[in-house]
Subunit: 217 residues, 2 copies
DNA sequence: CGCAGAATTAACCAAATGGTTAAACCTAAT
DNA sequence: ATTAGGTTTAACCATTTGGTTAATTCTGCG
């Protein structure tokens, strides 16, 4: 019998339609730019229903933010906290993370924007309790540095570098296009190469220093 | 005679006070988040004066955006288009750019956000006519690659990498803090090290490949 | 059927917000 | 001092917007 008793959040129930619409609008326009009427329209329902299911704009917004964060962070955790060898961990992280971003173009800017506007609120109410634990990664880096397998680097900077190289090109896509004078197609091609490029750039940047005698003659 | 005929924008004239207030509010809250009343309050004047000098919110906003872009881009140009040797050019660019960003924390997010919301409008109305010409830089990179002085790399990716490493850590500061579990002081310290860190990371990432035999035993 | 409770809607409300207006206020030149 | 023109303001206006209400429709069930 196909009643509606299952625990899954009722695929395409009204509530779900509202949430989906809100997700789209909020992530693209932010809290201030989003209008309740627009969300209702996109969901194909009456505006009053928004308040019937989610009491206020803030509540609805918060639901979206929480969902976004709850989806984005564990993926990072999973890779960061694993016990893979460092190089493979880095490779996988880049592959995975860039893949994620290219399928959710608006999310990074959304997170960054909103976290900047209400940092305190974010830290207190929105953050998933289970933050990634970078300690394993830190230790790995320190070990490999000590073993001379990679050049000395502060693991925190390394994480920052990797994440910057993954996220920013998508964030700044229009800016980069303009700066480099690229057509949309050229830009797309370039972004498609980022997995490869970031991986080799980071690994190259980690090679242990050999005294730079004379380059290949 | 000190009429008001000079070309300089009348230091702390009413118009200037309005512009300054608008600059602060708009860059921090974006077009949607900014309220005319708040700008008027910050400027210490009546709201009607905003419309007396700048006819509408959009006009005022546009004035701010144009000013921001007109200030941000030439600095990039200057370094990019110079004929300095590649390594020094990169070093200087990083030093200069990170310096600029740390003194104008809100600007990058502002530019990125607004360019993403109205890309067409940006490209048509707001962009300074004089875009940086990356050709010189491209050529330099290609030459050094050909000479075996740096490992093979697409110059466009190199620019993207450098800019990502410079800008993103400041954009994503709260996010990074959270991810790494750092106090505000620790985070500040880390950001203060970015000039050094980015420079060595990029230069390391450009070292020509020596076949990785056995690491130092 | 008929009824209870949930779902949905049209109409409405109050506050916020961008923008206007007409009057008041300078200030410099007559 | 008077006046003309730019500057500034308080009061006002129209629209937008988040939110509410009361009535209507829908749905399952005895």
């Amino acid at each position: 019998m196909d009643k509606k008793e299952n625990t899954t959040p009722d695929q395409d129930s009204t509530e779900q339609k509202i949430f989906d619409a809100a997700h789209e609008i909020f992530t693209q326009k932010g809290m201030d730019g989003a209008k309740m009427q627009e969300i209702a329209d996109k969901a194909g329902i009456n505006k009053a229903l928004l308040h019937y299911y989610y009491r206020s704009k803030e509540k609805l917004y918060e639901a979206v933010v929480k969902a976004v964060m709850a989806k984005a962070l564990p993926t990072v955790r999973q890779v960061i906290e694993s016990e893979l060898p460092l190089e493979e961990k880095i490779t996988r992280f880049i592959d995975f993370y860039i893949g994620l971003i290219s399928k959710n173009t608006f999310i990074p800017l959304f997170i960054i924007s909103e976290i900047n506007k209400h940092p305190d609120h974010f830290f207190e109410n929105v953050m998933p309790r289970q933050l990634p634990q970078p300690e394993i990664f830190f230790r790995q880096v320190q070990e490999e540095v000590a073993a001379g397998k990679i050049r000395p680097i502060d693991p925190r900077h390394l994480i920052i570098n990797i994440i910057s190289l993954c996220i920013f090109p998508f964030l700044g896509k229009p800016l980069m296009r303009m700066l480099l004078g690229l057509s949309p197609e050229e830009m797309k091609k370039l972004l498609d190469q980022r997995k490869q490029e970031v991986t080799s750039f980071v690994l190259a940047g980690l090679k242990p220093v050999q005294q730079p005698e004379s380059p290949i003659p």
